[in-house]
Symmetry: D2
Subunit: 289 residues, 4 copies
């Protein structure tokens, strides 16, 4: 008999996903949010912010490989990388696998998330002390507005557009991201569910276009612990197109980068396998602007 203790995330007032809880490892309110790390039976340890699944040990590899390797293999020489959000460290962990990356500025709003993940999610936070990584506790929105630095790749590993994260989905933010990228830079943004949040994805693409990006391409994938299990990133680039990358180059590099989901075939195919209706939506927006 298992203890009948469950955590439930309500995707909205009509749908919910519940996991049986083995142990509550951490539960605290920070200045910004309620942070929980629980041990589950099927998804291992799970980070929850304000009652929303952020990352689970079981399926985080999908999210973190795809948010990192797609942009980093699209850019031929990603030396300077900015990661906004992603306090669990999973994105940073993947980014530092790239030898060409020399420095990662890792801007996270909530120091308590970093602390909790350092302690309870070592599989994700393991590269936070990597010498390339520069942790900056700050609001990413303000950071890109104020910094003078220029990056090759900016990865926006943001939570849902609620509360303080709302500004990460607004035009002002994208303009500042554009400003912070070198002339051949590119960015990737976490862009919610292609089933639930189509209007939001439409807006993101519109704002990115209006901010000056030449190439705007969403890509979708299954993400079991997220609402609808169906999720997306949106890549926006000043110059490089992910479909132009030489697959052999990726295959070669992957000999030294261990991945479970991403490979040289996935790199392009993930854009092409994105559903027709989403590709059309984005095509229509970017054409019309």
């Amino acid at each position: 008999m298992k203890f009948n203790l469950w955590f439930t995330e309500y995707h909205n007032e009509n749908i919910s996903l519940s996991m049986r809880v083995k142990e509550v490892l951490y539960l605290e309110k920070s200045k910004y949010q309620e942070i929980a790390i629980i041990e589950t039976y099927d998804f291992g340890r799970v980070l929850i912010l304000d009652n929303t699944f952020q990352t689970t040990e079981r399926d985080e590899f999908i999210y973190h490989e795809l948010i990192s390797h797609i942009p980093l293999f699209t850019h031929p020489n990603p030396k300077d990388v900015l990661v906004i959000g992603g306090g669990d460290g999973g994105t940073v962990r993947e980014v530092v696998k790239h030898k060409k990356v020399e420095r990662v500025d890792f801007v996270e709003l909530d120091e308590k998330v970093i602390e909790a993940c350092r302690k309870y999610l070592p599989n994700l936070s393991c590269e936070m002390d990597n010498e390339k990584v520069n942790i900056i506790i700050a609001d990413g929105i303000k950071y890109v507005a104020e910094t003078d630095k220029k990056y090759d790749v900016i990865i926006v590993d943001c939570p849902d557009p609620v509360g303080p994260a709302k500004g990460l989905f607004e035009k002002e933010f994208y303009k500042n991201v554009y400003k912070c990228l070198k002339d051949d830079g590119l960015m990737v943004q976490q862009s919610e569910s292609p089933l639930y949040d189509l209007k939001l994805i439409e807006n993101i693409c519109k704002y990115l276009k209006e901010s000056g990006f030449k190439i705007i391409m969403p890509y979708s994938y299954p993400m079991p612990s997220y609402p609808s299990g169906f999720w997306s990133f949106t890549l926006a680039s000043k110059k490089y197109n992910p479909l132009d990358v030489d697959e052999n180059k990726i295959r070669e590099a992957l000999k030294e980068i261990k991945t479970k989901y991403y490979d040289e075939e996935v790199h392009k195919a993930i854009f092409l396998s994105t559903p027709k209706y989403l590709k059309e939506l984005v095509r229509n927006i970017t054409k019309s602007l």
Copy 2:
């Protein structure tokens, strides 16, 4: 205030997905299972068999387009098609969109499912009376064991490998499917979650290989209403490889076939974007045999 009535599917004893119910349209026990059709707030009407989501109006297009158009566009001339299972009619609806298809033998075990879906899921069952469609109320396992017919394409739109459907995941069944295919025939099987059911997929591929199929390729995709939101089909072919199809041919044909998810890019990319770990698993199995 919405009425607080919910249906919950337990993926296993540790995870569950719940949807708020607007109306219970149909609820009956057949000889084989408990059949329910409910109206939900976010996923429209939903067919549930033995407390398991089978199909929802909101996301069924993903499943039905991908189980149908991938094999039918892989085969150059799919005249004779066998559909096993899929009593909601969604697969048949997609199959008959193909002009080259002359006849669809549609074998469903449970007549009551067909009746209920005819009445309450017209968006799915709408082509059941199509003149190409020949409904056969029978056990698919027995059907392929006993029939002398030969098909170009066989689509196994089966439920989870529990109860009577168990036999649809065993070697004996695949051997008979092989027997029922013409020399250049191919089949597609619903093959569960690449996150939860890896061992099962491994077995399916092994059995398919042992049954004589030359080409065995799983493909995965997001399926929000199914366990883990991450699902797969496995294609097994005597001759044709889905990656060899001319995209232009598909693009042309799609001018007359309305799809939301599938397009000529998705056709190949869905195989290539399947996670590395799953492609490797299958490669290892099929190589070793």
Copy 3:
């Protein structure tokens, strides 16, 4: 395997009671509230208003016997009775069992509740057409404010003090009830949970005292389908004390009135067995005023 369909009432944001649903018999929004009647496995048919259990076939006898027979056996000659609320008809059903009762004015706000219960809860609504019963579709608060009639017994079979029912728990209302009672009249009010709602019970008693009632006595009992399973009524009387009634008189009368919970012993014991802390609370209030 039973269909996994559940209704849940949240007692507050921290506690909930759920029942598996066999069938949804009725679900409609009236002008005032959302009305549902469901068939459950263990509690039979259940009336639910705005997601709150109102009455169930299994335990309604407790509530309806105790709200009716206590006051009607306390009053030596209850000819004219007013019932406010209780659209299911259960209270009226008990009241008309008393031969001395000549007329029951039954004031219910929501005609749709009466209609639904007539159709789906015949065990409760069966005496609505009794010739003694005069159904008045009206707001009980306004009714007692405006009527010139005088009653022997007034029974306030009200829902929780939320929305339109709020006024049924305010001093103005009790003053009007006092006014509508003959000089030896008495009233009973549904007064919520002695565990959750002590402050409310305190207020009710205070207001009753301030309205002129001489005798104010709450009585508590188990009520499985209500929040905390622990519920109360409060009797307020101008003259008669329920503890003064001759038990033999009740025993005699009960030969012709079928009850399951109430008997001549329960009549007094239910007041005396009310928890010490509740009796003390009321004693302190009524003494201090």
Copy 4:
């Protein structure tokens, strides 16, 4: 926003009660069961054995006062008391309040329950180290079978009749309890829900009668955290009848025993206010034997 973590007890496969959990204080498997102590929002700390609510800080006073003071005030001179079960210590805490009690043998099967409650439920376990209390880690069923001691009062504070506790509801056990009582001794047994478990109560009374007890009287009361919120004890006595006790004597004694629920009125009224159907059931059984 509160963390969405809930514990659910299923009363049976059709009804469940859920409480939001603030903290999991203790969770361990002992030799006999899974023991959990959680902190809830509305019921304080809660002891749970095998997914069943055992006791909560909020409503335990009802249970523990009624299981203890009723028998101890019924017996004129309860010097030697045996408590079987009740590892949380709540019953013992009430028992030692009686000056006449000289010794309490406290037989609990599961040492781990005692340890956990000592640490996390000090409000209940506070008298475990009282010099009158003699803790015996043993199976109560075996204990009464084997001991030669004779008691004035035996209190069976048992869990539900499942697993190892089953024997506490069988005739053999009652015979041994009878044997362990002095000639004027009496016992009280936890006897489940008068709504759900009528057949069980019937059997208990039958077995008690057959074991030789002269007086057998169940008494019921609301118990919010238990299934149906409606619970019962059954008193069986060789000589003393609880209805014969002098109320003044109780009132006097209560000046030095602090209670919230029990008082001299409750003492008798709780038997008389027990529902007619339950009193009749027991009367019929005891008469017929």
